[in-house]
Symmetry: C2
Subunit: 289 residues, 2 copies
């Protein structure tokens, strides 16, 4: 596995293999099974194309707010590289901030519709920072496809929108959320939970899944009824404070006002103490409409 620590090294490495297919997995490191499942998905795709897997590890300052944890964000590089190696990554791009961003940088890729709700509502500028760094990583690594996790569903939708609106020649592949046995979505933040919080945390996924099933089975006539069902069931999580729950069009992320033919996604975020967890599920289309 090649470890490329600068844009120059990356470009030199790419120069010999410009025409080889490539599948990209952008990460911020601190890798867990959620990430390695994306590497596995990328490996599968790359093998089908006869190509290579490129991962990137870059804690992107531009997507962190002023009061967020950019400095404290974990950077266990050796362990991360070992995980890349074990999961079939061919090259890892690990640039430093000064190589990625000039001091007088003045170009940003902005998104103005999908970014304003859900997690974006409390993180102004976050998805612009994500779009900007992903655009740069696409342009630097020139992939045929790139894999993003469904765990960050809003991010996935924003990236798909960027690819559509800017005509990036990159196929976006979604990796399913990896969960603990009790349903809790894997997250670097789960370690911050107290044992009591950890015991309650799976309610987030359970309630999302139950609500989605209720919609699919026609037990909720309206999004409003489904919302009330969710809130009542989530009330069991006595240690949680709900940040948001939304039933949205899976592509536009717009809240739906009635159940029609749109593919739906249910998303929620909740605080357990200071730890904010997010999760989301789809709705089976079979029983709808």
């Amino acid at each position: 596995m090649e470890v490329l620590t600068s844009k120059t090294e990356l470009r030199d490495w790419l120069a010999d293999r410009r025409s080889r297919p490539r599948v990209l997995v952008p990460t911020m490191g601190a890798l867990h099974r959620g990430h390695t499942s994306l590497f596995d998905r990328a490996r599968e795709e790359a093998d089908a194309l006869g190509g290579e897997v490129v991962a990137t590890i870059f804690v992107n300052p531009v997507q962190f707010g002023p009061n967020e944890d950019f400095d404290a964000y974990p950077r266990p590089l050796e362990a991360d590289l070992a995980q890349c190696r074990e999961h079939g990554v061919d090259a890892v791009f690990v640039p430093v901030v000064a190589d990625m961003y000039e001091g007088d940088r003045s170009i940003t890729v902005t998104e103005t519709r999908l970014s304003t709700t859900l997690c974006g509502a409390s993180r102004p500028g976050h998805f612009d920072g994500v779009c900007t760094v992903v655009a740069k990583l696409f342009l630097l690594t020139q992939p045929d496809a790139a894999v993003f996790g469904e765990k960050d569903y809003q991010q996935l939708a924003v990236i798909r929108r960027m690819v559509r609106d800017l005509d990036f020649p990159v196929r976006i592949l979604a990796g399913a959320t990896v969960r603990e046995e009790d349903g809790l979505a894997l997250s670097s933040r789960n370690v911050y939970l107290t044992p009591e919080q950890r015991a309650q945390a799976p309610i987030l996924q359970r309630t999302l899944a139950a609500t989605a099933q209720g919609i699919a089975e026609g037990r909720f006539a309206t999004p409003q009824a489904a919302r009330e069902g969710f809130l009542e069931a989530f009330g069991e999580a006595t240690l949680a404070r709900l940040d948001y729950f939304e039933i949205v069009d899976a592509a536009s992320l717009e809240a739906v006002e009635y159940f029609g033919k749109a593919e739906l996604r249910l998303l929620a975020a909740a605080f357990f103490g200071k730890t904010r967890l997010i999760d989301n599920v789809g709705v089976g289309r079979v029983a709808l409409g």
Copy 2:
């Protein structure tokens, strides 16, 4: 010469020649000798690379302000295609607006430093629209190099900045401004000038050039003195109303406060009646500091 009228046709055409070098010339059509000189420059570059020239003709609605002339902008397609043919263009991409922009588009490439002054001051959003469409055209045509005219110097600087900040793998080539015999820069707008205005219009270029020469020869101790020199000389143009005159760093477009080692550019815009003309010149570095 291929005429490609949709993204699908363009992608099909490119599919066979993905690895061939390409030089792009983006235009809004209504082509004159200023544009064809860019085609010639692109042809030269493409020949050196053993590649092809792709031109685009697209009147980009996103870079026009609400009170600007998007609808009235001339679209002499047949004449434009003839000029492309005569100047060695291999393929012309001529998309319609609905193919380039989805109704719910929400991604914009924004520029926040170089765009705020000069022409950008009176055209909010203009350079964001330029960046967005040029990013799309780069991603659609995947060129090795692209040619932009120095006539629109601020646009050239903004595009260079976009390429730097987003890591586009595209070399930007500048085409020198093409002028009438009396020095007036070619522009589609020159036809709007009355005979009297047309007779005075070359003062813009003459005064810029004289000021640049004065700086190069050390006759102005400070940018402020050079500015006064420009304003005095430009006063001869009794039919003109100056919009701006600036002496800036050629790369950052920031106004300089003293003459140091920075490469300088002098830019001006002036109204002759309702017709707004722009021009710019460099300063020879020989005699400087």
